[in-house]
Structures are given as C-alpha cells and as structure tokens.
Symmetry: C2
Subunit: 298 residues, 2 copies
DNA sequence: CTGAAAGCGCTAACAT
DNA sequence: ATGTTAGCGCTTTCAG
C-alpha cells in the first residue's frame, strides 16, 4: 500500500470503467460558445458535474446537426454515462432514438417549439419570462412595443409577451414582431428594421441579451438615446449586461439552478431511478437596470 | 459485418484504449471562462482537436491550483493522451513533474514571467504586442500614456510597451503603470486611479480587451469621451470588442493559429516525435477601430 | 489466410 | 478474513 504510493501507482480508470460499465464521464453538447450565455452555463454545469465526481466531455456542434450525430456516436462507443444536450445543438429525432435505447439524456434550455416526447428536460419558464418583460414595459407606460425573437425556437417567450400585452388591451401587430436568430448581428438588423417604420416603437424586448446588445448598438447608430428615446429589455442576464451602456434591464435566468436541476435529472437516470420527472422549470426574474424607463411620448 | 450494423454494434473505445494505451482524448485545462477570450480559444482548440479525431475533456480550475492538480490526477488515471494547459490554470511545478514523467503537455498562452523549463509552449509574441500598442499611440501623437497590466503574468507586454516608448524618448513613470488582474472590474478600478491623477494620461493601453472594457466604462463614468478625451487600446481582439462603444482598437491575437500550433506540438509529442520545438510564437497585429485617435492636447 | 489465445488493469464472484 | 479466478471488449501474437 505504502510502496504503491512510492512507485507512483495510479488506479486505471479505463480498466475500472470497462469492468464496471461506468465511466464517470458526462457529455455536454451545445450549439456554440459564441453567445456568452453558453460559457456561463458551461461553467455552472462543469462545476456541478465535478461536485458529483463526474468529468465533462465537451462537444460543440456549431449548430450543425450532422456534426452532433457524429459526436454522439463517438461518445456512445465510449460508454459515456450520460448526456446533457442544449437547445439547437442536435436533431430531436436522433436524440429520441438514443433515449429509447435507454441512454440517460437531459435536455437543457431546449427549443420552445418542440415537445420532446418523454425526454427529461429542464428549462426556464420562458412563457413567464415573456410575461415579466411585457409587464415591466407596461408598468413603464409603454404602448408601442416591439419584440425581436426567433419565432420557431423561442415561441414561448413570444407567447408570454403577447398574452400579457393582450390582457392590457395592446395587440402585438405582426409588423412589431421581428424574427432573428440569437445573435448580436441579428439583433442589430432587426432593430434597424423596427426603427425604420414610420411609427417606431418606444420599447423593444429582445429575446436574448446577446440580441439586445445588437439592439443597443442599432439604436445608437440611429441616433437614438437609450432609454430616453427607446427602452430595451433583454433575456438571460449574461455577465456582460451589467456593463453595457446603458446597463441592460433584463429577465434573468438563474444559471446555477438550471445547472443543478439538469445534473440532478441526469444523475437520477444514471442511477437507474424509475420515475424521473419529464420537465422541470426554473423561474426567471426581472433585473431592472438603466436601459428601460417610463414612456414619455404622447 | 452487415448484420453487425443491423444489431447496432458499436466498437468499444474503452476496451480498445485499454489494449492500445491510447484514448484519443486530450485534456483542456484553463483558469476560467469568464474572460471572453477563453471561450473563443476553447472553440478553436476543440475544433482543431476534432479535426485530428480527438475528443476534449474540459477542465476549469477557476484559478485554483489545487483544483488543477486534483483534476490532472484524475485525467492521468484515465490515460488521457495529452494535455493543453492554459496560463494561470496550474502550478508550473506540478506540470514540470508530469512532463518529466513523459506526459505530453503543451502550454498555451502561458504566463510571461515564468520560463517553463523545456516544456513545449505556444504563445503570442507579447513583447511585440506591447511594442505595437506603443507604436500606435506614438503614431497618434500621445505623450502621456499609461498602461494597465498584471506585472507578474503579463511582464512581456509591459516590457515591449515600455521599450518602444523609451526609444521615442518617453519614460513610462511608475505611477503610469497600474497593476490589475485580467478582469473587467480591475480594468475599471485601475482606470479610475489613473484618471484621478492631477495630470491624467491621454491614452491607456490595457493588457487585455476584457480590462479595456472596464477602462471604457470608467472613462464614461468619469465624464470623459473616448477617444476625444482619452484613447484606449486593448489586446486580444475578442469578438465583443468590435461591438463596444466606441469599437475598441486592439492588438489582435490570431486564435485559430494559436490553436493549430498548440495542437500540432501536442500531436508531435503524442506520436513520440523526438525533437519537439520548445517554443512557438504567433504574431499579433494591430486592429484599428474607434477608441483611439490623435492627441489634441497641448 | 483464417482462427484461437493471451493480455491490457480492473472488479466481483467465488473458494479457501 | 484472505486469495484466486473469470470476465469486461478489444488488439496482437502465435498456431493451424
């Protein structure tokens, strides 16, 4: 025992895994790291994984489903214990196949349009997030509001936002709904479009902070002051948001909690737990900063 | 063969690894993901790794050497093929021990004060980067310049900057050298200090873009316009920098190239290549945007 | 050129 | 309590 220490003996995890059918490795599959939201999630997820003595195999699909499938196959033949798959990184059809074969999988921050059939999922209550954003703008007296959103993948944010507006007697006209992918650039061009309209909105809800950064940039380029001329509210509360000019008001996603719930559902499956909850929602909340203010237009 | 396909047979990488003494896994060890520079590097590194059919085990030490050692031990007993270790993530003493045992290791973007004894390293020519920053400010006619830098870990940037200033007959007074870690917050407070001096500088070189973002924020809070009242230049050229207000002038680090060279040195070691170069430098270059302008003070 | 067997380093189920 | 052995799924070597 003692001389094992001296000879620098190290138990071989590979051999143990082969024998145990357990690798203490989980895979983390995500679509990109470009949106700053993902690094923050990765940091939280890797941390909780390590808390449970798991190591993380990292896999970036660059929004490319084919690449996702390839990577997944490689992981499968490595006997990875479980998979955390983030929204937009893989084809749900592929995932479903694996899940039906009994592979432990948790969807994290999944697309809002597809209901994954029975695959455990932890996500933010995006419908509520949309409502919170709408309510905040309503509280500030805004009537002419617009939204920048990926109508496919972020359907719930849109629905929540529209419903609260509706309740306040404000119809969200089609022209006030700008489609855009979750990138700064698309936030920028969507805002350009919105501001080009004859009656421009007094407030914009961008479905992610990353888009909201583009909105801020576009407003500035158009010679508008934020928040005096235009209020902007985002969603995610990435670290950057507190340091923008002006600091961004946003609907925050509790990332550590998201990570913990995700890991929890994954471990339950790995440990052979029978009834794993199919859905767990995490509650978003408003973080009020300086990019929104009361509406002063007639 | 064909029916193996039908039965969904998958060759077991674990067993192969056990037999082959080769796992086709590399470890990527870094200090944090908070600084946006790291996600960009991770994306590049993971991409090149995959190009060579390697998968990436991800490990974030949160600047905590002890955690780094723990993780490294776990990886070692997994027979990871090689290690890419980024600056500030692990104790060089530990790394040296492993390297002497014959473990393939490449240091990437390493601290500028420690010369790792014989461990292959690929980094940016930070001395040159400092010179480029200085030259740019000199070209714009700035005389009263300051630098925000981690004097320990970013010594070369400081030396390069100071040397070029020196050649132009400008002594970099001690009070114009502000220490700071590579964070937005420390860039902010360092700039506050600098601007509080009776004769404030007309230009600031921040050793990373992440710090420069803090500098921009501090200047704004102090009621100064950038670049009219204060020029700011950074280093890294993270994606964000192009979208700041004003867009940040910076010394760019070619990240894809950094990643490729790193992977190249690592593969050489893994393949048992005899003479692996001890150091490979990547050339930085100036990206001129709107945060710097000609000096207009008397 | 195809087929059997030993071994990679560990765990777990045995027998002593 | 301790010691031995079969087996995890693959590769490689050695026979047939």
């Amino acid at each position: 025992m003692q001389c094992a220490q001296e000879l620098g003996y190290r138990s071989n995890v590979l051999a143990r895994s082969l024998s145990n059918h357990k690798t203490f490795t989980i895979a983390l599959i995500l679509p990109t790291l470009t949106n700053p939201f993902y690094p923050e999630i990765v940091e939280a997820l890797e941390h909780t994984a390590r808390d449970h003595d798991y190591q993380t195999l990292f896999c970036n699909t660059h929004f490319h489903f084919e690449l996702g499938r390839l990577q997944m196959e490689r992981m499968m033949s490595r006997w990875v214990d479980g998979y955390i798959i983030m929204g937009s990184s893989m084809d749900i059809a592929d995932i479903t196949r694996y899940f039906q074969q009994g592979v432990p999988i948790v969807l994290c921050d999944w697309q809002e349009n597809e209901a994954p059939p029975g695959i455990p999922q932890v996500s933010v209550d995006f419908y509520r997030a949309g409502q919170l954003a709408a309510q905040h703008l309503l509280d500030l007296g805004h009537q002419h509001v617009a939204i920048i959103v990926d109508e496919q993948q972020q359907a719930l944010r849109l629905e929540g936002f529209a419903s609260t507006m509706q309740e306040a007697g404000i119809a969200l006209l089609h022209e006030k709904i700008q489609s855009g992918a979750s990138t700064l650039e698309s936030g920028y061009s969507a805002t350009k479009n919105l501001l080009a309209h004859p009656q421009r909105p007094t407030a914009i809800f961008a479905a992610t902070d990353w888009m909201a950064m583009g909105a801020l940039e576009a407003a500035l380029d158009a010679g508008l002051r934020v928040p005096e001329d235009l209020s902007v509210i985002g969603l995610d509360d990435i670290m950057l948001s507190a340091h923008l000019h002006p600091p961004l008001t946003t609907i925050a996603v509790p990332k550590a909690q998201l990570a913990q719930e995700t890991m929890d559902l994954l471990l339950k499956q790995i440990n052979g737990d029978k009834d794993v909850p199919a859905l767990r929602l995490v509650e978003p909340y408003l973080v009020s900063r300086q990019s929104t203010t009361t509406n002063t237009t007639a």
